[in-house]
Every structure is written in C-alpha cells, then in structure tokens.
C-alpha cells in the first residue's frame, strides 16, 4: 500500500513549463517528422524507443498503436515524456538540428500519446504465465518499477521493498513540479503495478527490517534499485542553523507538503548540477524575490544542463560563479553566507571575501551513495558507493543485479528505466536457464 498525498502541497502552485500539444498540433508536428531510417533519435534514447514509428502513428491518428510502441520499450514513457532532458537526448539528435531548423518536439509528441493512453485507460501488457520464480527488488523507484514490469511480463513473481511510505522514487518526490507533480508519478506507478503480481512492501528498510542474506535465501534473484541517499553536507560553521537544508530533502518536502516560504526574501543555492538548477527555479517559482546560485566553477563548467540554466535565467535568478561558501551566519536562523572567490584551479583568492544575504540556503552538492550496503556481500564491487555492474546489470555475485542511480551515480529516469529493463531480461535468462517455459 502506498500512502495518499496531502492535498496541500507547495508543488501544486507550479504550471507546466512545457505545454501539452492538442490533437491538431500533434498531428501537424508528427507529419513534420522525416521518418528517418536508422534514426539518430532512437540511438540517443537510452530505452531505444522506435521514435519515428510512434510519431508516424500519431500522424495517422493511431494513438493507441503509438502509445504501445513507446511503452513496449519504456513502460515509464509517460513520465519520461515530461522529465527527460530531450534537448540533450532524442531532440538533440534530430537531423533537423543539422538543417538549423527546429527539431521535432519528440517529448511533447510522446506526452500526447502517453497522456492519451492514461486518459483513455488503455493497457497494453499482460503478465506472463507463472514460472514459479520469485524476484526481490529493493526500492520502488523507476529502475525497480521498470524491472518489475518486465519481470512480470516474463511470468516471475515480484516483491518490492521500499523504505518510504510512498512509491515512485525520485519521480514522486524529486522531479521539478513544472515538469511533473507527485500525483502524476503515483498514477504512473499504480498503472505499472496494475499488471498484477507485484507485491509492494512500503516502510520496509532492507538491511534493517530484513537482511540481505534473507533476501538472497528467499528469492531466486534480487534487483538493487535503491537510488541515492541523503544530501551531502559541507561541514561548515553554521550549517545547523534553521533555514539551511539539503536540496533533495527540501525538494521532497516542497513536493509532498507545504513549504513555509513566507519569510524568505533571499535564497542561496549551493551547487552547479541539475538538482541545484531545479532548486533555484523552484524557490524562484514559489515567490522568493532574490535567488542566487553559488557555484565553485564557471557557467561553462557546470554539470547542470545549459538549457535548464537558460530557463532559470529567464525566470530572473542570478549566479555567483567561482564562489565558495565558507560559513553560514545568523541568530537561530540563517541570515548571511560568507563566501570567497575561487581561481581557475578552484583555490580561494585572498581578499575576495564577500557576504550574501540569505534566509534560505539549499545545499545541492551531491548525495550519499547507497552502494556500500551491498559491500559486505562477496563478489560485489562497490566503487565510492557506486555498485559496479555489467551491461546487463549483473553485479558479479550470483542472484544479485542492480540498476538506476545506485549503479550510474545519478542519471535520468530514462536511464533507470533502461537499466531496470536490461536487468530484468538478464535475470530472466539466469533464473530460467535450462528450464522450460509454461
């Protein structure tokens, strides 16, 4: 069982940044697609959706077939249509870019097809004939959901262990609300689970409530899809002041509850990745007048997507590049951030100290890696908290597979979906080796 969402959530204040297409616009856009042979967009998609084919089916008004083509490759195609950084994936690979013409709006077309499928209540897949095999999945995020769905199509019983009360992983509590809100993620997760035969145990922490050894004993295979852990901290003076939060934790709070923004006039977000940019845009969107991103590198060197930062700039935020926080100050609650400028080698430059006003500080400097929880199992290699796997998600220890952020260090939902899918097929091959399918 998954806990219902409260009606009062800060995220509901956001409108969609990218608007949906109505039918005529979708058909017109679909007809613009060249139906490339060996299309670059397909190769750019981690789940290799047959993009020209699903777009052609929109053009012919075969939306049912279009959605099926999408879900066949990526069961999380509805959320991916909203949250994928298409600018650097499929849309970025569209051959129209080489013509210096607008590329096909693949994400919006995928949203049109998959939203229609959800609206009409279409379902496309059935569980396979029972094999008698059981697979445990750790974490109820995108990687495990994709893996479990594929495993069910292949006939294996699945049990998902989720430490939270709510399923969907980062899709539910981490996606920027101008892309997708938590209720949409839950709708998708429930749609995926409706294939049947997937038991979800929420509020169960693997390693505490059930041991790894027990899982290995009770199941024919285990898929680790637990994602990433808590926000990393800087260890600076004043980091415990009220108003200083880890960005991921704050985003989760904002999405699942009502964040109190009343007193906040100046916000500082520390970091230069996509979580930092999300946080910047979210804080701005909730009405904070002055929002500054504090990053130790340059704009060109940031790991966050340039198109996302462009959008943030348009919304009226600013950045302090090559800057490092050295202390948070205030009485009870944070009021100021003491900073210093950095040189090209990221060393502080003496005499460049400066102060930023701040009554909200979000730290978006990375998350702890959860891989170490598997380190005790022989045969599994964990490198800086990241579980090492082969292309099929196999860890090297019999029965154990992994995928998603805990193996890739933190990528997109679409990567988690692809990795979950690949692992499911590898698990099937391993646990059905030599066995006849009913």
């Amino acid at each position: 069982m998954t806990a219902p969402l409260p009606a009062q959530r800060s995220e509901t204040a956001f409108a969609d940044f990218k608007l949906p297409l109505m039918r005529d616009a979708a058909v017109a856009e679909a007809n613009r697609c060249l139906f490339c042979s060996d299309a670059p967009c397909v190769n750019a998609c981690p789940t290799h959706i047959d993009i020209p084919q699903f777009i052609r089916k929109i053009a012919t008004d075969n939306v049912h077939g279009s959605a099926k083509t999408i879900f066949e490759s990526n069961i999380l195609g509805m959320s991916c249509a909203r949250v994928c950084p298409v600018e650097v994936l499929c849309v970025g690979a569209c051959v129209y870019n080489d013509l210096e013409q607008p590329p096909i709006a693949i994400g919006k077309l995928q949203r049109y097809a998959t939203d229609t499928a959800f609206e009409k209540g279409w379902r496309f897949f059935e569980a396979g004939k029972p094999t008698g095999r059981k697979v445990a999945l750790i974490g109820a995020g995108p990687a495990s959901l994709a893996a479990a769905h594929e495993l069910r199509r292949l006939g294996h019983a699945c049990t998902i262990f989720e430490k939270r009360a709510t399923i969907g992983g980062l899709n539910t509590f981490g996606v920027a609300p101008y892309k997708m809100k938590a209720d949409r993620s839950l709708t998708e997760a429930e749609w995926v689970l409706a294939i049947g035969g997937i038991e979800v145990k929420t509020g169960v922490t693997v390693g505490k409530d059930i041991t790894l050894e027990q899982l290995e004993k009770d199941f024919d295979a285990v898929f680790m899809g637990a994602g990433l852990g808590a926000d990393s901290a800087l260890g600076l003076p004043g980091e415990n002041l009220q108003g200083v939060h880890g960005a991921v934790a704050w985003i989760e709070h904002m999405k699942l509850a009502k964040a109190d923004m009343g007193a906040v006039k100046h916000a500082v977000i520390v970091g230069g990745g996509n979580t930092a940019i999300d946080a910047v845009r979210e804080v701005k969107g909730l009405g904070v007048p002055s929002v500054t991103m504090l990053y130790r590198g340059t704009r060109e060197g940031m790991s966050g997507y340039q198109h996302e930062w462009d959008a943030a700039l348009q919304e009226g935020v600013s950045a302090s590049w090559q800057s490092l926080p050295v202390a948070f100050e205030g009485t009870g609650r944070v009021q100021r951030v003491q900073c210093v400028k950095l040189d090209a080698s990221k060393k502080p430059i003496a005499g460049t100290e400066f102060t930023l006003q701040a009554d909200l500080v979000l730290l978006a400097i990375g998350q702890s890696k959860l891989g170490d929880m598997l380190a005790s199992l022989g045969g599994i290699t964990v490198n800086k908290g990241v579980i090492q796997v082969n292309a099929h998600g196999f860890t090297g220890r019999a029965k154990w597979y992994a995928g998603g952020d805990c193996t890739n260090g933190g990528k997109e939902v679409v990567n988690a979906a692809a990795e979950g899918n690949a692992a499911a097929r590898a698990i099937d091959a391993a646990i059905m080796k030599g066995a006849a399918r009913a």
């Binding site: 139906f35 089916k57 012919t60 008004d61 049912h64």
Partner: protein, 422 residues
C-alpha cells in the same frame, strides 16, 4: 485479436496489405524484406519483354510544403531478364510460402501470354495481374492502357489469360477512361477472378519554369507519366465504389491509389476492396510503414467489433448513391461554440467570399454570429475552423418529410423553400 486474413478472388493473404506492382516490388530481395516487415502479399513488378528505362523517371508534387503529396513516374515494366525474375519468385515463395506473390504481366500476342503465364505459374505465382493500365510508354506500343481503354480487347486478352492460367487472374484497370464500369464488366466477361484499380493517371507532374520543359526532364524533353500518391485517393475511391455498387459486377476488388496508412486502407475496404496495394508511400518512407497499417487496422476493427476483414468490406457501399437519391429536405445550419471559438474569423472570410454570406462579425466580441435564416449548411466554415468541435452542423427540423430530386420529379413530393438563393 481481429483476423486480418483475406481472400481476393481465391488469392489468400495473411493480411490485406500488398505491395503494388512497382519499384518496391522489383526484385526478390526487396519483396523478402517487405514480407519480413509484415506485408501480406506482393504484386511483382510487371514481367514482359524487358525494356530500357530513361533518366530521370520520377516527379514529385509538393502541396503546401508536403513533398510527394502527389507523385508520377515514366518508368516502364521490368528491365530485368525474365529468368532472373522467375528464379527470384521461386526463391521468395520458398522462403515465404504463406505470403501470396501475384505476378503482373504485360505482353502482346496470345502465344506470348500463354508462354509467360505458364512460366510464372511454374515459378510459383499464387495469382496473376494483367497490366491493362500503364498510361505511358507501353501504351504507345499497343499494351497497358491501350488495352484497358478498349473493353473488347480487354475481354479478349483476359479470356486468353484465364484459359491458360491455373491460378486466379486479376485485371488491373486504368483510370484514364470516362466511366470505369464498362471496363470492369469487360474483365468480368473475360472470366477474371477479380480486378485491381486504379493504375496511374495520365499526367504532367509539373513544369521546370526556368528551362521551359515539363518534369521529370530527360535531357531537353519530358513526357506524360502516371500520377499516383496520396493526392489521387479520392479519384481511386470513386472508381472502386463505382464498381462495387454495380449490381452486374460483383467481382473481388484489390484497391489501389493513394493508400498511405491504415485509415486509407479502411476507406478502400469500406467501399468494397478486400485487399489494398501500396507503392508511393513505400517509395517515400520504406516498408516499415506496414507496422502502423496492421496495428491501426486491428485497433479500428476492435473499436467497431469486426472480427474478420470480410465483415467490413463494402460496408459503406450502400451509403454511396446518386445525387438524385439525396434528401433535399435534410437541412443543417452551422453552430459556433462561443466557449471554444478563438476569434480567428476564418469562417467569416470563407462564408463571405466563398459561400453564402451568412456568418458575420459581431460588435464587442471576436466570436462571429451565424444568421441561421441564411445558412445553407454547406460545411465550408466547419472545414476552415482550426478548433476541434467548435463549429458543428446541426440538423434543423423544418417540418418537411424527406424528398429526393427523383421523388420530386416523379412523384411530386414537396421540397422545402430554398435558402440563400436570392
């Protein structure tokens, strides 16, 4: 899952989608790839005495920025040795025994027809298609549409083919005639098991306005070619329906002409085609378009409760009649949904300049007003409106009982007063 299998005059196919006799069905390897992609059958590019082709051969008609909306060609029948084609037919049948291969044929004398029919059937043909339709090049040599335009010649050659063939014979008809019905009936009298139509339409696809030569250009000259592609579908649908509703006809039809997707195929089937043949869209996009055709057709059939193709073939034929049978007292007027209207006023311009001047701008709003007392129910406003379901054509109860022109003339049934005729 609906059953897509078809039977066209005794030619059985796993689905109704066939490659038409044309460049995509030129060789064994092509057709094998097409079958792998899901095509049900293929009509092999016309065999006969191999010809020599020109450069260039194809012309495209761009409409509103859509390339290849219309298309034409001046290519002739196969240019490959007969033995090569026959060997590849045998090999393709060996690899794909369930997919019908219909061999298109075009020769001159009775002896030639007898010979090539035997060779084709020996090679494994599941059916024959007599090419009486090619409107360029071959007709200058007394074949192709030169045969199809003369019912007596059509009947005679069809008779030869049926006599010498042990497999079903389809006659491919040319649209370059005033009325298709006598030509379909000629094929029937000759003993054909079915017809396929339409072949291409005699055309000039365009003119090079800088070189002063029509297209496609062969050096300093061009010639008329065969027009096809999406733009010809309305002509093809009419000819298919004209034969399908002819009581004396009754033969199976393989529909051709502008079939690009499942929806086009459904339209051809509802007007009497049991299979459809595709060329141009494959030339423009490749064999993999068939995935959507199969998928979309199945979805359509599920939506309408059709379990087999034959339940839908001809379903719209009774709905196709003559003008004189239409109810003149059936009256509609346009209604604009003010909540949906975006105020573009395309309907105002269309009605004022292109119809009956009954849609007017209103003071204080961008939503136009329909003067229903003047609206003739022509549909033009609905056609130009960019907003789905914003303009609807609503039936009016005018108190008059249905009356057709034929009934008015023959039985004196009263007609409602004309609107907009002042």
């Amino acid at each position: 899952m609906p059953d897509l299998s078809t039977n066209t005059g005794g030619i059985h196919s796993p689905n109704p989608f066939w490659l038409a006799s044309a460049p995509p069905a030129n060789s064994g390897l092509q057709i094998q790839r097409a079958f792998e992609a899901g095509w049900g059958g293929a009509v092999w590019k016309t065999l006969g005495t191999p010809i020599q082709n020109v450069s260039s051969r194809f012309g495209g008609h761009t409409i509103g920025g859509v390339r290849g909306a219309g298309f034409n060609n001046i290519e002739l029948i196969t240019d490959r040795p007969l033995e090569t084609n026959l060997r590849e037919i045998t090999e393709t049948k060996r690899l794909f025994p369930k997919n019908p291969i219909i061999v298109s044929l075009m020769v001159e004398t009775e002896a030639e027809w007898k010979d090539i029919i035997k060779k084709s059937i020996d090679a494994g043909a599941d059916g024959l298609e007599l090419n009486f339709g090619c409107p360029h090049g071959m007709c200058e040599r007394g074949m192709g549409s030169a045969v199809g335009q003369e019912p007596k010649v059509n009947e005679r050659i069809t008779g030869w083919a049926v006599q010498y063939s042990s497999v079903p014979v389809l006659v491919k008809l040319t649209p370059n005639v005033g009325d298709i019905v006598p030509h379909g009936l000629a094929a029937k009298r000759g003993g054909a098991h079915g017809v396929s139509l339409i072949n291409t339409i005699k055309s000039i696809i365009g003119v090079d306005i800088d070189r002063f030569v029509p297209q496609p250009r062969v050096g300093s000259l061009s010639t008329n070619g065969g027009y096809c592609g999406a733009a010809v579908k309305p002509i093809a649908l009419h000819m298919v329906a004209a034969l399908a509703r002819e009581p004396q006809f009754g033969l199976p039809i393989s529909g051709i002409g502008g079939v690009c997707n499942w929806r086009d195929a459904v339209e051809f089937m509802l007007l009497g085609s049991s299979t459809v043949q595709v060329c141009t869209e494959v030339m423009l996009r490749g064999y993999r378009i068939v995935e959507d055709m199969i998928d979309g057709l199945q979805q359509y059939m599920r939506g309408h409760g059709f379990e087999r193709i034959d339940q839908m073939v001809g379903k719209a034929v009774p709905g196709f009649s003559e003008w004189g049978n239409l109810d003149l007292n059936y009256e509609t007027v346009a209604k604009i949904d003010a909540d949906k209207c975006i105020g573009c006023q395309l309907c105002v311009a269309a009605c004022h300049d292109g119809a009956h001047q009954c849609i007017h701008p209103q003071a204080g709003t961008r939503v136009p007003h329909v003067d229903e007392s003047e609206c003739v129910g022509c549909n033009l406003c609905q056609i130009v409106c960019p907003v789905p379901d914003c303009i609807t054509m609503e039936p009016v109860n005018n108190g008059f009982k249905p009356a057709t022109w034929n009934e008015h003339v023959n039985q004196g049934k009263p007609l409602r007063p004309k609107k907009g005729a002042h």
